[in-house]
Symmetry: C2
Subunit: 190 residues, 2 copies
Amino acid sequence: MVNKDPFYLGRLQDYYALHRLIPSYAEIASLVGVSKQGAVKFIDRMIFAGYIRKGSGGRLSPANMFFARPHVGRAPAGFASPATEALGDAITIDEYLVERPSSTVLVSVRGDSMIDAGIHDGDFLIVERNTNPNIGKIVVAIVDGDFTIKYLRSGSDGLFLEPANEDYPNIYPETSLDIYGEVVGQFRKF
Amino acid sequence: MVNKDPFYLGRLQDYYALHRLIPSYAEIASLVGVSKQGAVKFIDRMIFAGYIRKGSGGRLSPANMFFARPHVGRAPAGFASPATEALGDAITIDEYLVERPSSTVLVSVRGDSMIDAGIHDGDFLIVERNTNPNIGKIVVAIVDGDFTIKYLRSGSDGLFLEPANEDYPNIYPETSLDIYGEVVGQFRKF
DNA sequence: TTGCCAAGTGTACGTTCGTACACCATGCTG
DNA sequence: CAGCATGGTGTACGAACGTACACTTGGCAA
């Protein structure tokens, strides 16, 4: 008989997708159709393989491999590299994009003033609240009470905002520049 | 005294980010600095507010609101709309972008042949395996053993691939066209 | 063929968990 | 001022949990 662990793991992943919780050994047992001790042995294997972790009190939680999605790398050759190395330690897209959840908001993009930076109308931006970002970053600024997404530049007259679209002019603040945050990521659905 | 629940919730979210597990009542108690029964009451409030769910055996798991990130909408006026309506029912960026985890892979983008579609060098694409996508979609095709990202078009001589960059030519397959999957999403870190 | 390891079953046990009930302090409202 | 909802504490208890140990079965290698 072939190795049934991938099938077991699939059941576990389905359950997790539904409940966001790794069930108890007894529940795993009935979920995959083995005895409670069979489940214990199975989970031991999953822990060894890096799919599952054990928290305090022996409670189970998913580990990195549990979320790993096949990543087809830049390599020209084909389907190699099942790893998610390129994503670093992140185990979900969420974790890759959002480093500081408590100070992060999402912003919808309207208009095409940043299109040369690959930011299109309808995109979502991941914005970290930070009123003092570095020069050169893409920032969310508040101009006339409205959000605007631009590059933060520094000129001889101080800071100004530069769009990534030659059809739009630079914005030079009359008094001061209100920065809402820094754009750290972007995503879009087709 | 102000409402301390947001502070409690923050502790819980930090813990969850670390362990991917809502701790037991006893652990919550020591985490936020109240008694076990205080934790029970607090969790009751969180359940009522939609932040936490209860699974089998009374075990706690995060619910929709637990992941909700403030979403600053398209509205010109300001910081309104804490809701994530624009993301639909998705509670994480992951769930928004990946609808069918089992048939989804990530692909790194190399080159700028799709730059007018907002797909830049270094971006990640969410690709659903599907060898028969609809005309007009962005697809991952296999040409000469290499991946290539292009629009799938239909002409008088059958299917062909069209880049989103006028510096690149259309690709007309000599025999047949190998489609790996359809590009359903994209994300990038700045 | 013998031996061994891996996968799975059954039973038992101490601990921890979630739940319930009684009670206290605070602040707002009629 | 009385009343009451809210947030919190302390104690108690049965159920469910994770763990441990002994045993069985099947496949594979020596």
